[in-house]
Amino acid sequence: MFEPNPPIDLSSGKYLKLWQGPQHPGITGNMSLELITRGDEVVDCKTHVGYLHRGFEKLMERRTFIQNFPVVCRIAVPEPTFNEYLYAAVVEELTGIESPPRAEWIRTLNLELMRLASYLMWLGGIGAAFGQSTVYQWTVTHRDYILDLFEEMTGARIYHMYIVPGGVRGRLPEGFEDRCRDVLNRVEKLLHDVEKVLFNNVVFKTRTKGLGHIPKEMVDPYGITGPNQRAAGFSRDLRKDAPYLVYDQLEFDLITATESDTYARSWVRYLEMHEGIRMLRQCLDRMPQDGPFQAKMPNVLHWEVPAGETYIKAECTRGEYGYYMVTDGSEYLRRVHVRGPSYTHAIALMEKLAVGTNIADIAGLMVSLHTYPPEIER
């Protein structure tokens, strides 16, 4: 399946080697693209990662199970909560702890808020990548309103460290529901504005339609998941296919498209934001008001998880996010592997899609794949 791009003779003088990054405009985080161009056309692309490599999988092997809980959220900076949830879920499955229903609702609320915030950031990104920085200013501001909610709920804006193995760390604050609804209304209004300004925009359409087309038959061989996959016409979403938390109790539609280009991918995400708001409202309506939010835990200071291995996945904004963990019965885990969707999107897929595009489109293409480098290199 792997077809290397044709070799390029750089010394011929026809080509120019161009580096984009490590501060790449198309992503949140650091990653660089080594582009070979002929005129404005990209003829070869190589992704270089590792600028944010911290060795999480190694560090986690030498921390106890509770000590890992604050660590994992750092793996994907703009979207930490999915790491928290998955880590908690993996540990819970291996230990046989079950988090109480109230915690499951709060977790769902948390994850969907995070998805919305992450998408807002992305929405600004796609605007900015194509030169519409006003949208970026708006959406990042609205993302900040959601961060305010997080701050209130979890005690921090970025690294929430709220979903702990066994449940969540605290109840929802008083009056949170109302403030959350207010923010949702504001975000919804903003989304309609953005639709008018960005999606119904002749220049944006000219730029994005047809850009970075992913054929349907490329999806599985490249391991493409998430909105990128749905925009290619697949109705696959882990929230529907393998419902976790309380997703089986929520009503929401699966958004798909067929064009599979940058515009289609953006539009799928845009509609998913609306679905997210819909789900969040259901969460707020049906949030249990009492009951425990944490399972009975052993003393976490020397918490030994029974030997075993498992893999748990969740649908994050970018696709299938998963944690694979092997334990050996000690206070430390033997191996953890974090499967981020960006891993293939930003490297194998990007290197393929970039060929033949214009330099000017690289950033936009990158944004349309929605990748976070920290989850690639971890």
């Binding site: 809980f69 300004v197 359409k205 939010f293 052993p298 003393n299």
Partner: protein, 594 residues
């Protein structure tokens, strides 16, 4: 290209006529949320247990001594010092804090040009956020520690009162592991334990199921592990950090859990039986816990040890003062047997001063350790106490332990609130008597262990608090006795001491019993020491006042146990013996000055 797509983007300008999103003065107007995880605060409840340090995955916390901190029991005198070049504000330290003294404020700004400046000791250093009232606190329903103790299987009150079977049945292996798992291994208890046992370490061996290592750890500081695992006064548990928000760790039961799982046959194999003789001899007077402890540690170092015991069997107060439903004889024998097996020579029925002169011992041995304990019951000091139906608590327990019937009758009054009083009461219940326990103060003032009080009540003893005996009279039946007692009111002490009971003359009661058991304390007996030596020894209230390493003014004489300390419990005696053994070793190897 549709016209709509050309026109619609200009909608962007609508925003220009609305209020900007911008926060006017963000620094001033946006304090952290009420739950914000900002900078650390520490309140006075902190006891420096260091649990925060052990959970911190960033190694951001150092426990450091703080100048001017008042030393109190169960407080290490250390306080957490934070490195804000490491801390990630996950607040696990707050969640785990055993006293809930650690909080986060909602303050979040700290900007400086000096990278070495980001250290501070929370609670004691003056930080700008020390007065903040908002910030992250652990939710009441969220726990990272287990606060409830694993209850031990016990005989029901009916079962227990029916005989002398051991009441507490011991932990099963799973229970022991669960209970051991609760320990945060801070080590605050070690200082409070009179014997300074390696408590967190042996609890860890329980958790790991490595009982042999546990036993070795126990014997490093305590050769009476089986005994102490049952009847220790467990001072350690009073300072256990887990007690601040829940039940303290059942340290005593965990000790017992280790011993219960190692059969006596394996002791010599696990602990070793090699002794390298060093040619010196030490005499030990009294085969109670203090004496046997000293004998054990001295023997370990190669001394030829001879123990002189007035009674027929070893164990002292453990055997004759503690009833077997609390400490079965075979458990005490388990401890003693191992000590004897190392080659300690026992001379029973040998009372110093009566059967053998003190001076002879002093001459025969290179050093002497004396721990004769307190075996003289204190007098009630009221009229009529010489009445034949007034028994001493110690006598009753002694008789029961020796298999004799103390003859308490059917209706008994016990006077006193200590462990001996409780034991006497419970023994009487087992002998079939109705028991009233009269105590001068309130129940919460009783010096007996709370569980003894609880169990005695469960077994049907009636506690009569605030009752002061006034007089004992002959009853109409010569096999009975009448006591007159008056109710007491508690009066606050002007000098700040504990409240004092004051007799209410107008509320007097008169009751008749088959016997009255006086158990208000014991005193010592040191007449056997010739007067010329006594002058060189310091005494206070008829007790020894030993110097360093339990040494007395008579250089060869070391003392310990109840007769030389004020705590009067087995574990203190054991430590006295151990400490004296250290002292004797130093003395005999010339390392002890003075």
């Amino acid at each position: 290209m549709s016209l709509k797509d050309l026109i619609s983007p200009f909608y962007v300008w609508q925003r220009a006529f609305e209020k900007p999103y911008t926060q006017k003065r963000p620094i001033e107007d946006r304090p952290g949320a009420p739950r914000y995880r900002g900078f650390h605060m520490n309140s006075e409840e902190c006891i420096g247990c260091g649990t925060c340090e052990s959970i911190c995955q960033n190694h951001a916390i150092d426990m450091v001594p703080v100048e001017g901190l008042e030393q109190r029991a169960g407080d290490s005198g250390l306080r957490p010092r934070f490195d804000y070049g490491r801390c990630c504000w996950c607040a696990l330290c707050v969640d785990i804090c055993t006293t809930r003294s650690l909080h986060l404020s909602n303050h979040y700004a700290w900007v400086t040009e000096d990278p070495d400046a980001f250290h501070f000791t929370a609670g004691t250093d003056a930080m700008p956020w020390n007065q903040n009232s908002l910030g992250y606190r652990r939710d009441d329903d969220y726990h990272l520690l287990v606060h409830d103790r694993v209850e031990m299987q016990a005989l029901s009150a009916e079962e227990s009162v029916a005989g002398f079977d051991e009441v507490m049945r011991g932990y099963t292996e799973e229970e022991a592991v669960l209970e051991a798992d609760r320990c945060v291994e801070c080590g605050i208890c070690v200082a409070t334990c009179p014997a300074h046992m390696a408590i967190p370490d042996y609890i860890r061996t329980v958790r790991k199921g490595d009982y042999e290592a546990g036993l070795r750890l126990l014997y490093e500081t305590n050769p009476f592990s089986s005994t102490c695992g049952r009847i220790c006064t467990h001072r350690c548990e009073t300072v256990c950090v887990m007690g601040y928000q829940g039940d303290p760790i059942a340290i005593r039961w965990l000790k017992r859990a280790i011993v219960d799982r190692v059969p006596q046959e394996k002791y010599r194999e696990i602990l070793g039986d090699e002794v390298e003789e060093n040619g010196k001899t030490v005499g030990v007077i009294g085969a109670g816990p203090g004496g046997m402890s000293a004998a054990y540690y001295l023997r370990r170092q190669g001394y030829a040890v001879t123990v002189y015991e007035a009674q027929a069997r070893a164990g002292g107060m453990l055997r004759y003062g503690v009833p077997s439903y609390r400490l079965p004889d075979n458990q005490l024998d388990k401890d003693l047997e191992y000590i004897r097996s190392l080659g300690v020579e026992m001379r029973f029925n040998t009372q110093v001063g009566r059967d053998i002169p003190f001076t002879q011992l002093l001459d025969e041995h290179d050093a002497l350790f004396l721990a004769v304990g307190l075996n003289q019951p204190s007098a009630l000091r009221i009229a009529g106490e010489e009445h034949p139906r007034v028994l001493s608590g110690l006598r009753v327990l002694d008789d029961v332990a020796s298999g004799k019937d103390p003859g308490v009758g059917k209706r008994v009054a016990v006077i006193g609130g200590g462990n001996v009083a409780m034991d006497a009461a419970r023994v009487s219940r087992r002998l079939g008597a109705e028991v009233d326990v009269l105590y001068r103060r309130r129940i919460e003032d009783m010096p007996a262990d709370p569980e003894e009080i609880r169990e005695s009540q469960a077994e049907g003893c009636t506690l009569v608090p605030q009752a002061i005996p006034v007089e004992i009279r002959n009853a109409s039946d010569s096999n009975q006795v009448t006591i007159v007692w008056g109710e007491a009111e508690m009066v606050a002490d002007d000098k700040g001491g504990r409240p004092r009971p004051v007799l209410q003359e107008d509320r007097m009661h008169e009751e008749t019993y088959d016997c009255i058991i006086a158990a208000i304390g014991q005193g010592g007996q040191i007449d056997f020491i010739p007067a010329e030596f006594r002058d060189r020894i310091e005494f206070k209230w008829n007790k020894f006042v030993p110097g360093d390493y339990q040494q007395t003014g008579l250089e060869k004489l070391f003392v310990g146990g109840d007769i030389a300390n004020s705590r009067a419990d087995a574990i203190s005696a054991i430590e006295d013996g151990h400490h004296a053994a250290r002292g004797i070793h130093r003395f005999l190897s010339g390392a002890l000055d003075g």
